[in-house]
């Protein structure tokens, strides 16, 4: 079978290296290290007579052994090759490069820090530029409404809004249940059970509804925007579009942003209802508060402003999510790996900036006393 071996014999002040068997890439690994360390003090003769099979890597190894010997000032030759093997060796020789640097380039730690810092700054500058372009293109649309793609927009309302209803419904319901449960446990210590309605409904309408919705949508849509646009970038579809004179902004960006700006407030509205419904069920199960009483109390405590504030956040969150999703999609470079990287980043950044934005709103509304 495929074996490889060699034997060294010293004779007449000459070292003979007898080679046997199959010198192939998957067999030479057993002897390669020893052969490359071979020390010869006099003359070296490599006898290839018994080599059954020689492939290019095997020939390369023979050549390296010869070369090492020659470099240490020893006369070395390879004998008894078949004409074909001779030719192979010839080609190996002619293709050999003297200085071969190893192919793994190690990065400097400081260089790494520097590069990441520059990357972050570049990212911010690019993103601001992107927002600027979006602004100008949006103005263009007002000037020339024909550029607004209604069909695409409707499609994205469907895929980002309507298709998200089940998961948002489930999440909101569960959060509503949990909030009510936890609140009741605390409030019942004071015998103030009825305030569970205030606590859960206001927190859901003002904060939790919009947040849950935005986070779910960021996970669903920011990622899909990035992946869709990234894949188009990879297959040069976007370049093709540009050469045809179509603005990727009108086709890819504005429909997605518009769709999300429309869909997100509606989703928040839906999330509020389901969340409060969840609280109502939980309250009923826990302390037996009837639905009638819950709803009456709701009328008294849940002022319209809480609701409106929650829903008003929708368009802002939508713009953040859609912009980040699309922006990362356009950042995909030429390799498939970057789609994964950009998608992860777009979801993480979208959620992060949604939370930052929500915190800003909290401060502003509190300062305004709303």
């Amino acid at each position: 079978m495929s074996f490889i071996n060699y034997k060294t014999v010293n004779k007449n002040n000459t070292t003979y290296l007898y080679c046997y068997g199959s010198w192939r890439v998957n067999t030479i690994d057993k002897v390669e290290k020893n052969l490359l360390k071979l020390k010869i003090s006099n003359k070296l003769v490599i006898d290839a007579k018994e080599i059954k099979e020689l492939d290019s890597s095997g020939a390369l190894l023979l050549f390296l052994v010869q070369k090492n010997a020659l470099e240490s000032g020893v006369n070395a030759e390879i004998v008894n090759l078949t004409p074909k093997q001779e030719r192979l060796l010839e080609i190996i020789k002619s293709n050999f490069i003297q200085e071969s640097k190893p192919f793994k380039v190690k990065e400097d730690f400081l260089a790494d820090i520097g590069r990441s810092t520059v990357d972050v700054i570049k990212y911010l500058i690019e993103f601001i530029g992107f927002i600027g372009e979006l602004f100008i293109r949006t103005l263009d649309i007002f000037k020339k409404p024909r550029n607004f793609r209604i069909k695409e927009t409707v499609y994205f309302i469907q895929s980002t809004g309507i298709n998200a209803l089940p998961i948002i419904g489930m999440t909101s319901f569960l959060v509503g249940v949990v909030i009510a449960y936890q609140t009741i446990v605390q409030l019942s210590k004071f015998g103030a059970d009825i305030f569970v309605v205030d606590a859960s409904s206001i927190s859901i309408a003002r904060e939790l509804g919009p947040m849950i919705t935005a986070i779910v949508v960021a996970g669903r849509s920011a990622s899909s925007f990035t992946a869709e646009i990234g894949a188009m970038k990879l297959t040069e579809e976007i370049d093709a579009m540009k050469t045809m004179g179509f603005m990727p902004f009108f086709f890819l960006v504005i429909p997605r942003v518009t769709a999300l700006v429309i869909a997100l407030p509606i989703l928040i509205f839906f999330s509020d209802i389901v969340g409060i419904f969840g609280s109502m069920i939980a309250t009923n199960a826990q302390i037996g508060l009837s639905f009638d009483i819950f709803i009456n109390r709701l009328y008294e405590v849940l002022a319209l402003k809480h609701y409106v504030i929650g829903i008003l956040k929708g368009p802002f969150f939508a713009i953040i999510i859609a912009l980040i999703g699309v922006f990362h999609g356009l950042r995909v470079s030429q390799d498939t790996e970057s789609i994964g990287k950009e998608t992860t980043q777009s979801v993480v950044n979208a959620i992060f900036f949604v939370i930052v934005c929500d915190a800003l709103f909290s401060v502003i509304f509190t300062e305004l006393g709303i």
Binding site: L60, N95, I97
Partner: protein, 253 residues
């Protein structure tokens, strides 16, 4: 000469669509063998069946004399190290540098030292006519022709006995394409390769192909050397080889 690939009565259906209906062909050791046919005639599907990416609906394929239906998974694994496939668009791993693309198989299937692997990488790159500095680059930094060459270098990493090439010269400039032909023919001579290629390139067919088969009407309608093929009066052969442009170029056949 020994037969390396033998396809017998191969039938392929996708649903009700019949792609092959009784395909027979025979590739001998050391040959450069071409598969020709119109777009959609099932050339790629045929090659995919031979390299076990697709299962034929019926029929037998023998590689190195063994029916691939009866191979154990161990034998399949071994066989896969003995052939190399060059995909039409290279199919380099985009997340790896050229060097790591080539090293991939070497690291996976051998225990060679880093140093030796590095020597082999340089050797292969030179062999396919790329500068050794290309090894630090990533696939997206290469041109189409460079990708093909780098992919060929990766294919050659394990010194396969059998090479499959899908349209090796498509997308190359004419000079590059002839260089590629020469390279393939040289590799065949030096490394005792058997090469199966899908091609539309008349110059390739003329310069380096030993035998070919013409796929049409779900069958091989002609098989043999260029001279033998030219005797066929099948419409595809007529259209492909016997127009004026070709007559001028193949005058000396």
């Amino acid at each position: 000469m020994k037969s390396v690939i033998k396809v017998e009565n191969l039938v392929t259906k996708f649903g009700s669509k019949v792609v092959h209906n009784g395909v027979n062909l025979d590739v001998k050791e050391g040959q450069i063998y071409a598969i020709l046919g119109e777009s959609g005639s099932g050339k790629s599907v045929l090659v995919k069946e031979i390299i076990m990416l697709l299962k034929p609906t019926a029929g037998d394929i023998y590689i190195f004399g063994k029916n691939i239906k009866n191979l154990t998974s161990k034998e399949v694994q071994k066989l896969k190290q003995e052939w190399g496939v060059l995909f039409q668009f290279g199919a380099l791993f985009t997340s790896l540098s050229v060097a790591n693309n080539i090293a991939f198989l070497l690291k996976e299937y051998t225990k060679l030292s880093k140093k030796m692997i590095n020597y082999i990488i340089d050797e292969k790159l030179e062999m396919v006519g790329l500068d050794a500095s290309v090894k630090y680059l990533y696939p997206h930094e290469l041109s189409g022709g460079m990708i093909k060459r780098a992919a060929l270098a990766r294919t050659l990493a394990l010194d396969p006995k059998l090479l499959f090439l899908d349209e090796p010269t498509s997308g190359l400039d004419p000079v590059g394409a002839r260089g590629f032909d020469e390279l393939i023919s040289n590799l065949r001579d030096i490394l005792d390769l058997t090469i199966v290629m899908i091609t539309h390139d008349l110059d390739t067919i003329h310069n380096i192909v030993d035998e070919m088969s013409i796929l049409a009407d779900q069958k091989v309608v002609a098989e043999g050397t260029l001279e033998e093929i030219l005797k066929s009066d099948h419409p595809f052969v007529q259209k492909f080889f016997k127009n004026e442009y070709v007559n001028k170029r193949l005058k000396n056949v």
